[in-house]
């Protein structure tokens, strides 16, 4: 009996190692294939949408391009798989995509029980308050007695109840089930306040408002929706690469390196910038990449600020204030650990 058991154990162990191996080398798989496959939402303004020329744009798309620039040397060596809310986790688990950039909110259970690891947050979303400019409200404290449009059973409904109770204020709820109808009701003036995720509000403002400038965000936000790239658990090197590519974009913005000046910055005396751009070697080797990885990310995709401006900023259709998605030095939450 004993040898049989041992055999079985050995076989099981062998199988486990094989399975581990198949999983362990996302970097090699990507290099061998020559393209990076990212799972994207494919239909959320600012995160991933197709432009009129059929090209993908958005902050999730930029994250993917940045990883491709670092790993493969070319940001265009990307392939995007459109995933839905149902299909996004299975496609990562089965290895159909190398990284999931489908504005996935980071939660404990997703990190653990689904077998994933999260990279740094690339977009902090939360429930925001959109009001007509004519209301002259600056803060939720100015909203006593306001009419609020909410969807039944939604997070926003809870947030509204919470915020108004905490401030001891009255409000009238207009409950509308369908998102489309809710937006139309708000932008045609049936209520004073629209509460939803800030990114969602921004895109609805661009879609439905006659004049988007007539509506402004209040400073307060509620709830937490931190989103970032997701990879399979257990491939530490790949997780490291995805993590530090995102940090490189944040670090670049903090140190003032952009796609426009990155070539000039190669001659910078700043030791931090020299290490980031690989002039002083070491960081690339530590990640298992070449030394120009971060240079290429910044040159081909830009720093985080450029990516944000392109997808959410004043020049985009969304015109979403940076808020939490600003550098920690400017009152936001973006903070990159040191590059050394």
């Amino acid at each position: 009996m004993r040898p049989l058991l041992l055999h079985a154990a050995a076989i099981a162990l062998g199988l486990a190692t094989v399975a581990q191996d198949a999983h362990a080398a996302t970097l090699d798989t990507v290099k061998q294939r020559g393209t990076l496959i990212c799972g994207i939402h494919g239909g959320r303004a600012g995160f991933s949408v197709i432009d009129s020329q059929g090209r993908w744009t958005g902050i999730d798309v930029d994250t993917c391009r940045a990883i491709a620039a670092a790993v493969l040397g070319d940001a265009s060596k990307t392939q995007f798989t459109k995933t839905t809310a149902q299909s996004r986790f299975p496609v990562l688990q089965t290895g159909e995509v190398d990284v999931l950039t489908n504005n996935v909110t980071k939660t404990l259970l997703r990190d653990t029980s689904l077998g994933f690891d999260f990279g740094p947050v690339t977009f902090y979303d939360a429930q925001g308050f959109l009001v007509p400019r004519s209301l002259n409200a600056k803060s939720v404290k100015d909203l006593d007695g306001a009419t609020v449009c909410v969807a039944p059973g939604s997070t926003s409904e809870k947030v509204v109840a919470d915020v108004f109770r905490r401030n001891d204020m009255q409000y009238k709820a207009v409950v509308i089930d369908k998102p489309q109808e809710l937006s139309q009701a708000f932008f045609s003036g049936r209520c004073d306040v629209n509460v939803q995720t800030t990114s969602g509000l921004a895109s609805q403002r661009a879609i439905f408002a006659k004049n988007p400038d007539d509506f402004v965000f209040l400073d307060e936000i509620a709830g937490k929706d931190p989103m970032g790239p997701v990879v399979r658990h257990g491939d530490d090197q790949w997780t490291d690469i995805v993590t530090w590519v995102v940090y490189a974009m944040i670090e670049a913005e903090e140190t003032g390196v952009s796609s426009a000046n990155v070539d000039k910055m190669l001659e910078s005396d700043d030791p931090g910038i020299r290490r980031l751009l690989g002039v002083t070697p070491g960081l690339g080797k530590a990640l298992g990449l070449d030394e120009q990885w971060a240079y290429r990310v910044i040159k081909q995709v830009g720093n985080y600020g450029e990516a944000y401006e392109r997808n959410f900023g004043e020049k985009s259709a969304l015109k979403l204030p940076r808020g939490m998605n600003n550098l920690w030095t400017k009152g936001g939450l973006l903070y990159s650990p040191p590059f050394n």
Partner: protein, 365 residues
């Protein structure tokens, strides 16, 4: 007549009800009820038609790349089609390479049109299809003669819809005939398997089959073994089409008089000869209307691919409309692809009626 010697009085022909006014009287005001209905419908038209014409034609914007101009206009913004037609028709296929998609669609349409000519129903046509499809696939994939290689994940729009549609019919029709024959078979295992397959697949929604193909199937595969998602979806579509069409074909098989089977058997004709030379040619002729029905449905079913993230004609349009500047003109964009779908489906149904009339001549069952 002269010879009989009897002459019936010649009557003038009955007054024919011709001319515009009699057409109006007979067609629209033949009874009180019909008159009321005509007036009500006329009133509805008078109320709805002018605003529709104003929206669609008079106040509409046909060409602009500035969505702000559309916002000012009170009519339709057809410019959304002009702005987004590349994404709607070709999805994420590389922009500079989309001429290949145009050629693919032209090739497919030419093949389909050639197949409608009955004179050309020869083995040569089959060869033309094989060659044509090979050329179309090669064009779509590329990777030779300096053509950029394009993976299936980047395919989209009308070429993708055509590939899936043609693939579904080409793969599903023989499968359907085999299933129908199997269900009619005397061999119990084959009979049970065919019936079981047909009933199972018919009991599952297409959406479900596609989800299985797209999401569940890879989970069962060993690590590293993977089939193309589009191929998996195509197999799912074929399975679905075959199950339905098998039942249509079986209807035709049952309509062949029992005596013909017995006559063939008594002459010692083999099963396959009997089936392919006697039964099927007649059976398939009978079931043209239901099969065309299945084919039209297969064409429309390609739009279900949207739910597994494939950018077919409908998926491409939905993705194109995510652009916040243009989302509000979704009615115009959807009307445009509705017209495209209609043109395809209506042509198919018109052709089937013509074919039916041609084949029916000289037959009484």
């Amino acid at each position: 007549m002269q010879a009989s010697g009897m002459t019936a009085p010649r009557l003038p022909p009955a007054k024919a009800a011709t001319g515009f006014w009699s057409w109006v009287r007979v067609g629209f005001f033949s009874s009180t009820g019909s008159s009321i209905l005509t007036l009500v419908m006329a009133a509805i038209l008078v109320v709805t038609l002018p605003p529709l014409v104003r929206w669609a034609f008079l106040d509409s914007i046909w060409q602009t790349d500035d969505p702000a101009i559309c916002r000012e206009a009170s009519g339709a913004c057809w410019a959304v089609v002009a702005e987004k037609h590349r994404v709607m028709l070709f999805g994420t296929y590389p922009y500079e390479q989309q001429w290949r998609g145009v050629l693919v669609v032209a090739l497919m349409v030419a093949l389909i049109l050639a197949s409608t000519v009955r004179r050309w129903w020869t083995p040569k046509l089959l060869m033309a299809w094989v060659a044509g499809l090979a050329v179309a696939l090669a064009l779509q994939f590329g990777g030779f003669l300096g053509l950029e290689f394009v993976q299936t994940t980047m395919w989209g729009g009308l070429p993708l819809t055509m590939f899936i549609f043609v693939g579904t019919i080409a793969g599903g029709m023989p499968f359907a005939v085999l299933l129908a024959l199997g269900r009619q078979s005397d061999m119990p295992i084959i009979q049970k398997l065919s019936a079981g397959y047909i009933e199972t697949i018919r009991g599952i929604p297409l959406v479900n089959i596609l989800f299985m193909a797209a999401l569940m199937f890879p989970l069962f595969m060993p690590e590293g073994v993977n089939f193309d998602k589009l191929l998996r979806a195509q197999v799912g579509m074929i399975m679905f089409f075959a199950a339905y069409t098998a039942e249509s074909v079986r209807g035709g098989l049952q309509a062949i008089p029992r005596g013909q089977y017995e006559a063939a058997d008594s002459l010692g004709v083999s099963y396959w000869d009997r089936t392919f030379k006697i039964v099927l040619p007649q059976a398939l002729r009978i079931v043209i209307p239901p099969i065309v029905n299945d084919v039209i449905r297969a064409f429309k079913n390609t739009s279900v691919l949207v739910i597994i993230g494939v950018l077919d004609l409908l998926g491409g349009t939905m993705a194109a409309l995510e652009d916040p500047e243009w989302t509000r003109y979704y009615v115009e964009a959807y009307l445009f692809i509705a017209i495209l779908y209609f043109v395809f489906c209506f042509s198919m149904s018109q052709y089937s009626q013509k074919l039916e009339a041609e084949l029916k001549s000289g037959r009484n069952y």
